[in-house]
């Protein structure tokens, strides 16, 4: 939209406005009057506001940091709203004020209270400040409502808080008692368990088992040795008996052969081998050797002298064999008893493992309950402090920061605004309608539209020529129009002024 177009539009608009001047004048006047009349029926509102200071930064709060729970203001806006706009408080106000006008129906009363609740504005005004405002057509009512609301709220809030912290304390106290009971039961169970447990601990049993195993291994070694000894004695005893008879005969032959050989050697020194003595001796030796190599036949006449001889080694061997057998039997019986003991110890070890699991469970129960109980004890002490703070009035307290002031002037839209808006609308609406009419009407009003749309040269644009008689007529028209305009303005202004001054 370039400047030329705006100029053209303005010119066309002015021209159309002049063409429809009376429609524009009376239409505008009608609009203004409608707005003025609406303004007359508009109820002016008086707003009363007050601000509360939530005092949480008292001296006790930092001292009790982490010990007692001091309620914070940041989360307080909702709490304040809930309490301030609660039915309890609003009902008191509604009953005291002339809101009900004798209405007894609870449904209607409740709708009045709801309406009131929607109109009270509670908002945060930054850190620690809470603003309360209310607007009403009656300044008295607005003022009374806000002051009562704030007074009731401050009273209720301290009572409420005291009640709340007391309830919290009582609740925690009850919980503490219940946990104490639980803890006692856990302790009893643990005691009972310990009393019934006679198997000792796992370490000792393991030590026993280890010792037994070692003993068994040693015994087994000893037993092996003893068995070996018994076996060896037994074989020696049998061998000794047989060995003794054979030795007597062969010794005899060997000595007689050696004697003969010596005799032979002596003879050979002095005689040749053809000597009859030598030959006889050699025959003798041959016979001896032949006898020596012949097996012994028991009961033969030659052995009776040997069997009758007492053998002391044999007796000794039999004695040793008997004692070795005794030792082996002793060791065997010890081993059996050791093995039995090892079995017992193993049984005991498994029993102890089972009991250990049970003990762990009991201990866990006990320690958990104990931890909770201790925490609750702490909480209980904190709750006691909080309760004391609230009772003493040392927690968060609300103070009136800026008291409500009685409203002297209405806020929001007032009659004068409507009167001015009427004038503005009377000017703007006809102009707007004319401009939209120019835009919407398809008839050609601008010469450049012809050049843009058709391929035909524009020879010229003839300006609006007003001849003298028309000028004269126009002067009359203008005067009439101005007069009518002034009449409208005067009517409007006088009505507005009358209403402003007298109503």
């Amino acid at each position: 939209m370039d400047f030329v177009f705006i100029l053209q539009l303005a010119r066309a608009g002015f021209r159309e406005l002049w063409l429809h001047r009376y429609a524009a004048l009376f239409g505008g006047f009608a609009i203004a009057v409608v707005i003025l009349v609406y303004g007359m029926f508009w109820q002016e509102k008086y707003t009363v506001s007050t601000s509360l200071y939530a005092d949480q930064q008292n001296i006790i709060a930092p001292l009790l940091q982490g010990q007692a729970q001091v309620t914070k203001v940041e989360d307080q806006l909702e709490i304040v709203k809930d309490l301030m706009l609660s039915n309890r408080i609003l009902e008191q106000i509604v009953k005291g004020e002339d809101y009900l006008n004798g209405i007894e129906d609870p449904a209607q009363q409740s709708s009045i209270i709801n309406g009131l609740r929607a109109r009270v504005e509670v908002q945060s005004l930054g850190k620690n400040y809470i603003g309360v405002s209310f607007a009403d057509v009656s300044p008295d009512r607005a003022y009374n409502l806000v002051t009562q609301l704030v007074d009731l709220f401050i009273k209720e809030s301290s009572a409420n808080k005291r009640g709340q912290s007391k309830q919290a304390f009582l609740f925690i106290e009850k919980q503490v008692a219940s946990y104490k009971e639980q803890l006692r039961q856990a302790e009893d169970r643990l005691k009972e368990f310990n009393a019934s447990n006679l198997d000792g601990d796992e370490g000792r049993v393991q030590g026993n088992i280890e010792g037994l195993r070692q003993n068994i291994a040693d015994l087994e070694l000893d037993l092996g040795q003893a068995s070996e000894r018994v076996k060896s004695f037994e074989s020696q005893v049998t061998q000794e008996d047989r060995y003794l008879s054979r030795k007597a005969r062969s010794e005899e032959f060997r000595e007689r052969i050696a004697e003969a050989v010596t005799q032979l050697d002596n003879l050979k020194l002095s005689y040749t081998s053809r000597h009859p003595d030598v030959i006889a001796l050699e025959e003798h030796i041959k016979a001896l050797r032949g006898a020596a190599s012949k097996p012994v036949s028991v009961g033969s006449s030659g052995d009776s002298t040997v069997r009758g001889v007492e053998n002391p080694v044999f007796d000794e061997l039999r004695g040793a064999l008997a004692s070795a057998k005794v030792e082996r039997d002793t060791l065997t019986s010890r081993l059996t008893s050791m093995r039995a003991r090892l079995g017992e110890e193993r049984e005991r070890a498994s029993r102890i493992a089972e009991r250990d699991a049970e003990l762990a469970e009991l201990t866990r129960d006990y320690s958990v309950t104990k931890g909770l109980y201790e925490d609750l004890l702490n909480s209980k002490e904190k709750a006691r402090l909080s309760m004391t703070l609230d009772i003493e009035g040392q927690g968060v307290t609300y103070k009136i920061q800026e008291p409500a002031k009685y409203p002297l002037f209405a806020t929001g839209l007032r009659f004068i605004h409507f009167a001015l808006a009427g004038i503005l609308a009377a000017i703007v609406v006809p102009i707007g309608l004319i401009i939209s009419y120019i835009f919407l009407d398809p008839r050609i009003r601008f010469s450049n539209a012809i050049e843009e749309q058709f391929d035909v040269p524009l020879l010229g644009e003839i300006p609006h020529l007003v001849s003298n008689p028309i000028k004269r007529m126009r002067k009359v028209d203008v005067r009439l129009f101005v007069f009518m305009g002034l009449v409208c303005v005067a009517l409007y202004a006088s009505t507005a002024a009358f209403y402003l001054i007298w109503m």
Partner: protein
């Protein structure tokens, strides 16, 4: 005292005829000029341009249109048909002033023919004209001289619409009509003929008349016609004859 100038070309016969015409017209003009002498105030009142008018803007617009038309033909005279798209579109106003703008030039004369027989409007220029264009077409006994009137504006003459209002379009196509237009233009080389035709959108008259003229211009009135109407009007005129449109505020 103003005179129409003699044409410089043409046959001997035509010259003699012209001289006779000249003498006659001089006499007529002298007589008429004595009767009508329009004052500046009258011209202002009748919304006709003149060289002394205070509103130079409108004067210049018409001068400019005149110059554009003259450039188009290269100095020769011509017949221009002025028609509006709708009734009351200002074709009469434009044609009168266009004729007056030609007449401003001391070397040219202008003749305006009011063909708008259904709504004749040139009564404001001359009073008591009993014969006019329509009478001439209907009655062969009426001579051309009888229907040409002086207007009280120097060098501008007028053929009024006349009294016969039941004239049909068939008269426009007659030989007499054709001859009439040719003679109006052909008699003087410095005479510019402007025909004020009925609106092109409402009757066929303007289209028939356009055939007889050299050029056509369409007057588009402010806020009265739509683009569609303009398009139809432009399409109904032969494109070689349409010199352009004039936007009338």
């Amino acid at each position: 005292m103003d005179f129409d100038q003699n044409p410089k070309e043409g046959s001997r016969n035509i010259v003699r005829l012209d001289e006779a015409e000249d003498r006659l017209s001089r006499q007529q003009i002298r007589e008429m000029a004595d009767i009508y002498h329009l004052a500046v105030e009258d011209l202002d009142e009748k919304k006709i341009i003149h060289s002394k008018m205070r509103d130079k803007k409108i004067l210049n617009v018409f001068r400019e249109i005149r110059t554009k038309l003259m450039q188009k033909v290269g100095g020769k005279n011509f017949t221009l048909l002025v028609t509006s798209i709708s009734q009351g579109g200002g074709a009469t106003f434009v044609s009168t002033n266009l004729a007056a703008s030609f007449a401003l030039d001391h070397g040219k004369t202008a003749l305006m023919v009011d063909c708008n027989i259904y709504a004749p409007s040139n009564d404001q220029l001359i009073d008591g004209a009993d014969l006019g264009f329509s009478d001439y077409l209907q009655d062969p006994s009426i001579s051309m001289e009888e229907i040409i009137y002086a207007t009280g504006i120097p060098r501008l003459r007028l053929v009024p619409a006349g009294s016969a209002t039941d004239l049909g379009p068939e008269y426009y196509t007659s030989y007499r009509m054709q001859q009439f237009v040719e003679e109006l233009q052909g008699r003087y080389a410095d005479r510019y003929v402007v025909i004020d035709a009925p609106p092109i959108g409402s009757t066929a008259d303007a289209r028939i008349l356009a055939e007889l003229c050299d050029f056509v211009t369409i007057v588009v009135p402010y806020g009265m016609v739509t683009s569609e109407q303009v398009k139809t009007a432009i399409e109904s005129v032969p494109s070689d004859k349409l010199v352009g449109v004039i936007f009338n505020n």
